[in-house]
């Protein structure tokens, strides 16, 4: 009886931790470090030293490797999350800022902000496969779920550049509003969401014809429209909701991903940059550059439940189970 109870309580404990034992990794742009957040305790459990000015982060599909854009070190670092050591550095081209990994887990598309290039690196052979001319100040990067498209945004050229991954060539461009920062494909790859920081808008693009289908605008009571500067975009896995980080407006917009209606604005920390879901989609984390913290949004209630102090100028965030 006692043993059974004990076993039951252990399995209960295991069950509750397994849903909460996720770990978040946050790049601190001005601290040259990664803050590791234990999402069970909601505390920073470790701070890892990495290259200079770390910004974009992403995970390998098996969640074992963390890729880090060390912008001022002009390289992409690869960290083994089991040992938390940098195991190799990839030739990224100058000033890598954001990147995206192809579904084949090999082709890494990196935007080189200072050189108006997208560099494609093979993460296994460490070879540069291609360098593609794009607009001035390339920034956002995404690969479509089917692996056919890599899309880059260029901040000064104000365009989305469509790269055909079969031959690594630029085949089309879509003009969007001023200073496009981030692109995100929806789960079935039919639509692409693109934020424009200075334009203050998010464009939803039909991937089939690469034309803009809808332009979203945002109005927050008590916040001047000029301060509404969309950066990060995340779409919920069920395809129902979209979240848009609004920069110095210090809010995240919650958007109905079907009707494109803005449902709510959630107050988070100052100058909110990027976001990541927990693997079970129960929480959304935001990096807040100026206040140096991470806000936790509960997806059930759509309320901000916690803020966690990290390093200086947190920029990117990813979460592993």
């Amino acid at each position: 009886m006692r043993i059974a109870l004990l076993a039951a309580s252990i399995s209960l404990a295991l069950a509750s931790t397994s849903s909460l034992a996720a770990t978040a990794y946050v790049s601190n742009e001005k601290d040259d470090s990664i803050s590791v957040i234990d999402l069970a305790s909601m505390e920073v459990s470790a701070t890892l030293e990495v290259g200079m000015r770390p910004r974009g982060l992403l995970l390998s599909s098996d969640n074992k490797l963390l890729y880090i854009c060390a912008s001022d070190s002009d390289r992409v670092q690869v960290m083994d999350l089991a040992t938390r050591k940098i195991i190799k550095e990839l030739p990224s081209g100058a000033d890598p800022e954001q990147f995206a990994l192809h579904r084949n887990d090999r082709w890494l598309y990196i935007s080189n902000e200072d050189d108006a290039l997208v560099t494609v690196v093979d993460t296994q052979s460490d070879e540069v496969l291609a360098q593609i001319d794009v607009g001035v100040e390339p920034e956002g990067m995404a690969v479509s779920p089917d692996g056919k498209w890599a899309v880059n945004t260029s901040e000064t050229t104000n365009m989305l550049h469509w790269i055909d991954t079969s031959n690594q060539t630029l085949v089309d461009n879509t003009l969007v509003d001023q200073r496009p920062r981030h692109v995100e494909f929806d789960a079935d790859g039919k639509r692409l969401w693109a934020s424009a920081e200075i334009g203050g808008t998010v464009s939803v693009i039909d991937v089939a014809n690469r034309q803009i289908e809808k332009v979203l605008t945002f109005q927050i009571k008590g916040v001047h429209p000029d301060k509404v500067q969309p950066v990060g975009v995340k779409l919920s896995a069920d395809g129902k909701l979209a979240f848009v980080a609004l920069g110095p407006a210090n809010h995240v917009a919650v958007v109905d991903a079907k009707t494109y209606e803005v449902l709510d604005y959630l107050l988070v920390g100052r100058r909110v940059w990027h976001m990541a879901f927990t693997p079970d989609q129960s929480q959304l984390l935001t990096t807040n550059g100026v206040s140096g913290d991470v806000s936790v949004i509960d997806m059930q209630s759509l309320k901000v439940t916690k803020s966690i102090k990290v390093g200086r100028y947190p920029w990117g965030v990813v979460v592993t189970p």
């Binding site: 260029s154 901040e155 104000n158 365009m159 001023q178 334009g199 000029d226």
Partner: protein, 397 residues
């Protein structure tokens, strides 16, 4: 702040042989957009403080970079931008060169010249759009607006208001105002007086620098006695050429800071502006010009970028259409200043945050928090709609 070069090169409508031009000449382009950069920078005469020279190509280098930046979008839209440059050391030959360019069909101009020259150009190039990247004159934005001119360079009133807001925040409200002898210095001082009244500061004493003081003493030695007046919190200096103002800091009678054209300086752009993506613009400019970007470069850069942003949106380069779009609220511009920039419909002035800098650091950015405005906080800097007798948006171009 001295922006004026004393060794002016004579350039007669020189076409520039840099990379962007080859793109611009490409026959594949469906829309060729010719923009001319016109400059006349008068000689300022001999200066006391002449140790560190100012760049002689300020303005032009910004316009060149903006052409390259704009061709990056143009390449994908099949729009090709090219720059004609006319730099002259007198107003009359600049006018002749501009008229010749106009004769060749050029209707888009970025002008780096004093107000009287700009007025002449505005008249001579009547059906064109001119972007003023060289004159901070307040009259051009207040009572004597030119219908075909927009301004990317901040006016003196904007600079003075930006400084006065910061001095309010610091509670440095008792000012000693020192003014140089030139008309420009008088105009800068007038902008400071207006700002003092607007933001509740008190000018406890005013002195004119004439340099007919004891000639056996150096300027440095002169300053402590020269600044011995009723007590002040801060010394405001109006010395646009940079003649004597550099000798004020650390030489004031009371141990007080110096601000204005020297010391803590409000400006449209400076090397120390780095946030909101500005670092990338600075890097691109330095690679292009092998020097730091200053406020004239930035104003000329933004002049060309404003035209190009409008062309991208309109898919045509008609001067009147560009002017109309610029004066509507439908042309948000990215100036790396943390928020979208736009032109004021009443006087064509670009509304923009103003950095306050010392030579090697950014001190603050105005508008300061708490200076509210019914439509845009940026309009707390410079002449606001009710203070202006022009209405550019309604005026026929």
């Amino acid at each position: 702040m001295r922006q004026i070069s004393r060794h002016l090169l004579l350039w007669v409508a020189v076409s520039l042989g840099y990379a962007a031009m080859s793109q611009a000449d490409s026959p594949a382009a469906e829309l060729q957009v010719r923009i001319a950069y016109l400059a006349y920078i008068p000689d300022t005469g001999p200066l006391l403080s002449n140790v560190i020279p100012e760049p002689t190509d300020a303005g032009r280098r910004g316009a060149e970079l903006a052409i390259t930046d704009s061709n990056s979008t143009g390449r994908f839209l099949k729009h090709a931008y090219s720059l004609d440059v006319a730099e002259h050391d007198d107003s009359a030959s600049l006018l002749a060169a501009a008229t010749a360019l106009h004769g060749q069909g050029v209707r888009l101009f970025v002008v780096n010249a004093p107000a009287p020259t700009l007025r002449q150009l505005s008249q001579a190039l009547g059906d064109s759009l001119l972007i003023n990247a060289g004159s901070a004159d307040d009259k051009l934005r207040q009572s004597e607006c030119l219908a075909n001119v927009l301004h990317t360079l901040p006016s003196r009133a904007m600079l003075a208001d930006a400084l006065a807001q910061f001095l309010t925040v610091r509670k440095w409200s008792r000012w000693l105002l020192i003014t140089g002898p030139t008309e420009d210095d008088q105009a800068y001082a007038a902008a400071l007086r207006r700002a003092a009244k607007r933001f509740g500061h008190q000018i406890v004493a005013e002195k004119a620098w004439s340099f007919d003081n004891d000639q056996r003493r150096s300027a440095q030695a002169e300053m402590p006695l020269f600044t011995q007046t009723k007590e002040y919190d801060v010394v405001l200096v109006a010395d646009e050429r940079g003649d004597f103002g550099e000798y004020l800091p650390y030489q004031t009678w009371y141990p007080r800071p110096v601000a204005g054209t020297q010391g803590l300086t409000p400006t449209g752009w400076h090397k120390t502006v780095e946030t909101y993506g500005a670092a990338q613009l600075q890097k691109r400019f330095e690679a292009h010009a092998q020097r730091w970007m200053n406020d004239r470069d930035f104003a000329a850069w933004l002049g060309v970028r404003s035209i190009a942003s409008a062309v991208s949106k309109l898919r045509q380069s008609d001067a009147k259409a560009i002017r109309a779009l610029a004066l509507s609220d439908q042309l948000p511009l990215d100036g790396f200043k943390g928020r979208k920039l736009s032109f004021r419909s009443w006087n064509g002035q670009l509304r923009q945050p103003i950095p306050l800098v010392q030579p090697r650091a950014l001190v603050s950015n105005s508008p300061q928090d708490g200076f509210l405005h019914p439509s845009s906080e940026l309009d707390s800097l410079g002449y606001d709609a009710p203070e202006v007798s022009c209405n550019l948006a309604a005026a026929a171009p």
